[in-house]
């Protein structure tokens, strides 16, 4: 256990825990074109933080409840023929604005606001680590269990229906997983960058994948690389850790797509 006394080890473990859940889920976010959906849910998290502080409950619980509410609202609306990108844009940014306003009412938080917006992975404690890994394992199990059904629904809802699956149920399962990941990620990369941890590893893995499973696996590896590289980089250059992790992920994304371009030139 003495290993966990090192804050660096805790930070690395927290990052890897998050990636284990976020990378496979991120693949679904990419395949289903839910990027904005992820954004809206993630931005709502700040409102959850404010409520948790005001009512003196755990941040994780507060964020989870609000993220769940947001995710279910959005997935309910998505079936109703609203102009979805506008709707999600409105909800994502107003959730963030409401969160910022709400936080300002809670005394003594303004100092920590940065930690909630950009994460504070180096301050992850043992109990945080337990929450992060608990949530990550839950999401992984959920995704593993529903994998085939989720994929079929992603492919085509009618096809899923003809196979006796309920697209509605699978959509709710994804919403649940998304809310969990948001609640887990807020400590690691913060509200503003959660969507990046969902999207970028998955998008970087696409050029190297021939099957969905492969893409999820490669996305996980790329995410881990970004966490390790980001923590190292933050140390070397004395930069904020969460944004540095996302920066490394973005660099990998650029590299991956350069490789893809080169390969298609060779062909």
């Amino acid at each position: 256990m003495s290993l966990l006394d090192d804050f660096l080890v805790r930070a690395i473990l927290a990052g890897i825990g998050l990636v284990l859940a976020a990378a496979p889920l991120g693949c679904f976010v990419v395949w289903r074109r839910m990027a904005y959906f992820g954004d809206a849910t993630a931005h709502a998290a700040l409102l959850g933080v404010a409520l948790a502080l005001a009512f003196n409950v755990s941040i994780f619980a507060g964020v989870l409840v609000i993220a769940l509410l947001m995710a279910f609202t959005v997935s309910t609306l998505s079936g109703r023929g609203f102009a979805m990108d506008t709707m999600l844009g409105v909800m994502a940014h107003s959730a963030l604005a409401f969160g910022l306003v709400a936080v300002s009412f809670v005394p003594n938080v303004r100092v920590d606001l940065n930690a909630y917006l950009f994460g504070d992975i180096l301050a992850v404690g043992r109990s945080d680590l337990a929450v992060i890994w608990g949530g990550a394992v839950l999401v992984s199990v959920l995704l593993y269990w529903r994998w085939s059904a989720l994929l079929t629904t992603t492919l085509n809802p009618d096809l899923a229906m003809a196979s006796g699956l309920s697209p509605r149920r699978e959509q709710l399962i994804l919403s649940l997983a998304l809310a969990m990941v948001v609640a887990v990620a807020i400590k690691v990369v913060g509200t503003l960058l959660i969507a990046a941890m969902l999207l970028i590893p998955a998008a970087s893995a696409r050029p190297f994948s021939r099957t969905p499973e492969r893409m999820a696996l490669i996305a996980t590896l790329i995410g881990m690389l970004a966490v390790l590289g980001g923590i190292q980089g933050a140390f070397t250059f004395d930069t904020p850790t969460g944004p540095t992790i996302v920066t490394v992920a973005a660099l990998i994304f650029v590299l991956a797509n350069l490789v893809r371009l080169l390969r298609s030139q060779v062909k």
């Binding site: 059904a149 229906m161 003809a162 994948s209």
Partner: protein, 268 residues
């Protein structure tokens, strides 16, 4: 016993009467086509057959243990989703390699196994969808506008594949189309739907029925006959020029003496 029997089914969707007292059956080994204009309730009727929708009144009787294979309209697969044909066949239930290859061969897509779904042409894609439907060894294949977006040669090839399947496996087929002329040659029976069953029977009968012509206009009628040709001819490779010539003899030689002669002008 019929594979599917639909008795006096009525169904409202969103307050609108979509199916009005519809009755129909599909017998084993039979190819039945439902035609009708857009919004005539064709897809709704398919959903009732599959069991995805429950009728307000009337009965849907399926033969006990009936296995249905469903071929949807062209699917859009997002290019961000990497998916080989082989992997696609194992969704949602994993299938053995032998079963996958057998189904692909039956659908005329044996060589596509390791290709990416997003790289397939329209015709190849529909064959893969057909292969997927065949995996459950269905007694009844349901095709919902399965050739939409294919050119005429592509559709004709696809339907002759369906006909071969019926011959080799004895599978019954229920398909939906809004282009009767394309499916004429393969259908045993045609049901013309417009909320209610306007008319039904052999393809020639429906094509010349006044109800059908009222729905589709006389312009279509000429085209209809084009694709009705003798089953004894094999048409793996459709020679359209020949079909045309063929059709005209039918058109002129056949029936509807009671119909206006200017019709033939339109068709020529």
């Amino acid at each position: 016993m019929s594979l599917i029997e639909i008795d006096n089914v009525t169904l409202h969707l969103g307050g609108r009467l979509v199916l009005d007292d519809v009755s129909m059956t599909v017998e084993p080994g039979e190819i039945v086509t439902i035609v009708g204009p857009n919004g005539s309730g064709k897809s709704t009727l398919m959903k009732v057959v599959i069991g995805a929708l429950q009728p307000d009144s009337g009965a849907v009787i399926r033969k006990p243990g009936l296995r249905i294979g469903y071929v949807p309209q062209k699917l859009h697969i997002d290019p961000t989703l990497p998916l080989t044909v082989r992997r696609f066949l194992s969704l949602p239930k994993r299938v053995s390699n032998e079963a996958a290859h057998a189904a692909l061969d039956d659908a005329g897509a044996g060589h596509l196994c390791m290709r990416q779904m997003t790289d397939l042409s329209g015709g190849q894609f529909q064959r893969v969808l057909l292969a997927r439907a065949l995996l459950s060894e269905p007694d009844l294949l349901i095709l919902d506008e399965a050739t939409q977006g294919l050119d005429q040669t592509g559709s004709a090839d696809f339907y002759s594949q369906i006909e071969r399947l019926r011959q080799n496996k004895g599978v019954a087929v229920l398909m939906v189309s809004h282009e009767l002329h394309v499916v004429m040659s393969t259908s045993d029976r045609v049901i013309c739907l417009n909320g209610h069953v306007c008319c039904h029977g052999a393809p020639e009968h429906v094509a010349s029925a006044p109800e059908y012509r009222a729905l589709f206009g006389t312009g279509t009628h000429g085209a209809l006959a084009l694709y009705r040709h003798d089953h004894s001819l094999d048409h793996c490779d459709h020679d359209h020029a020949q079909d045309h010539a063929h059709a005209h003899t039918h058109d002129h030689g056949q029936n509807h003496s009671q119909n206006q002669p200017q019709d033939k002008v339109t068709s020529a």
